[in-house]
């Protein structure tokens, strides 16, 4: 186990005591002491999430609110930093986007929600990555116009309840949860506690993310976990679940070396923004949308059983280097190795044979469609 060499003290989420009580193995992640797995192990936690319901503590992520005089004002302000159409997010809807730098590269990716309540007009709820949050908040503070306030919500915890039985479980505490569609957001009481709930997640399964006051986090966590169809799931399985779902992990599959187009996130840039621009790096993004990119993110299925990890070099069948693996491992539901990475665009077609250089040895592989296992989002 590696030790932290950082001088800054490691942070704990409001659920730290619950993780310890559940005998989780705690590891440092993005400055937080986080559960990588519980005693049942990553494999079982992963499979349980796909067949029943897994409960994840994701309180390390950054929760914040952007507040302006009305929706159009706050939306237009945020649109100067992200390529998504924020103006046309409907009340009660959530949208995925990225903070871009002037070169059109990705500073972070985030979820943006517009509350449904009329009295919350002018408020957007942001969820950003733990490892980027301080930089994101600084970026926002520097770039946002006067009149727009950034309010950190470090007083909130965040859970993800994911899997085919998530609806049934959350429905027992809050019937409203059953009525929600994919990528919608609502505020209601869950087991008596005020929560903001979105129907989204990071596993490819149906499920929810539940934001609750840190003071009530432990009580709500234990209530949800008292349902025997729910088991706690750590960061290890969170990673294998999102990889099977073909979802990007910031700092690995996307970073300041990639644009959203290279990452295949074109779907997250709505038509109005493509036409009008007005976000950092628009020139490059517009050009890439028209002309394509020289490298592109793809899924990769290695032959055999050996996983190809992050950093593995990808070559063509003649041994010429064409790319690199950015996330790779073993997919418990796939029951085999899987990877994603960037290749020269000429190699992006599904079933194109490539070679992965694993510990100096060539492992034949094929470009594969993502997700690697079917999504089960609530449509």
């Amino acid at each position: 186990m590696s030790e932290s060499n950082s001088d800054t003290p490691i942070l704990k989420t409001p659920l730290y005591a619950e993780h310890v009580a559940l005998s989780a193995r705690m590891v440092p992640f993005a400055g937080y002491d986080m559960p990588v797995q519980y005693p049942t192990g990553i494999l079982n936690e992963h499979l349980w999430t796909r067949e029943s319901a897994g409960l994840f503590d994701v309180s390390h992520m950054g929760q914040a609110e952007l507040i302006g005089s009305d929706h159009a004002t706050v939306a237009k302000a945020l649109e100067t930093l992200v390529p998504a159409d924020i103006l046309n997010i409907k009340p009660g809807q959530q949208r995925y986007s990225q903070f871009l730098n002037e070169q059109g590269s990705i500073l972070d990716d985030l979820m943006i929600s517009r509350p449904v309540e009329p009295e919350a007009d002018g408020k957007l709820i942001l969820v950003v990555n733990a490892g980027c949050k301080e930089a994101d908040y600084k970026h926002l503070a520097q770039k946002l116009p006067a009149g727009i306030t950034l309010k950190r919500r470090d007083d909130l915890a965040l859970f993800a309840l994911q899997g085919p039985k998530a609806e049934e479980v959350l429905g027992t505490f809050a019937p409203e949860a059953k009525e929600m569609g994919f990528m919608s957001v609502r505020s209601f009481k869950v087991a008596g506690f005020d929560c903001t709930v979105s129907r989204s997640g990071y596993t490819g399964e149906d499920g929810y993310e539940i934001s609750v006051s840190a003071d009530h986090a432990g009580a709500l966590w234990n209530k949800i976990l008292s349902n025997p169809v729910v088991k706690p799931v750590g960061l290890g399985a969170r990673d294998s679940l999102r990889l099977e779902a073909g979802l990007c992990l910031y700092g690995h599959d996307i970073d300041t070396g990639t644009s959203p187009i290279e990452a295949g996130l074109n779907w997250s840039i709505q038509k109005r923004r493509r036409e009008e621009g007005g976000f950092p790096g628009y020139e490059r993004i517009a050009k890439e949308l028209t002309d394509g990119t020289s490298k592109i993110r793809v899924g990769i299925l290695p032959e055999g059983r050996a996983p190809a990890r992050e950093g593995t070099i990808i070559t063509d069948t003649d041994g010429n280097e064409i790319g690199v693996v950015t996330s790779g491992g073993f997919g418990p539901s796939l029951n085999g190795p899987l990877a994603m990475g960037y290749v020269a665009s000429g190699f992006k077609q599904v079933d194109t044979p490539v070679i992965l250089v694993v510990r100096g040895k060539p492992v034949p592989a094929k470009i594969a469609a993502m997700p690697f296992v079917p999504n089960h989002y609530k449509r």
Binding site: I42, L43, R309, P337, R359
Partner: protein, 124 residues
Amino acid sequence: MTTYYSKDHEYIRIEGNVGVVGITDHAQSQLGDVVYVELPKVGSDIAKGGEAAVVESVKAASDVYTPVSGKIVEVNGELEATPNLVNEAAERDGWFFRIELSDKSELDGLMDEAGYKKFVAENA
């Protein structure tokens, strides 16, 4: 039969001039679910401390070093189809390879079971 342990959490069970090498039960519990094991080539000569195998869990790959120098005489083919034998029986059915010792005195630098248990407790 005597079993010795390394600080890298390998064991070697001595059977005559051959040692059966694998990772300890403590090591497998730290790694978590093993999904793949890369084994050395039979007939290859590996020096003490050299990389002899790779064990992959869902999360990460870890090198396995041979605790003694010698020639690989057999590998555990069962691990190809059922790598989780390492989790279920690390120090029995989950063995990695048999090595013909070239220098038995190298065993002197290893720990016995009591010494290894103490080492694990101190480094926990």
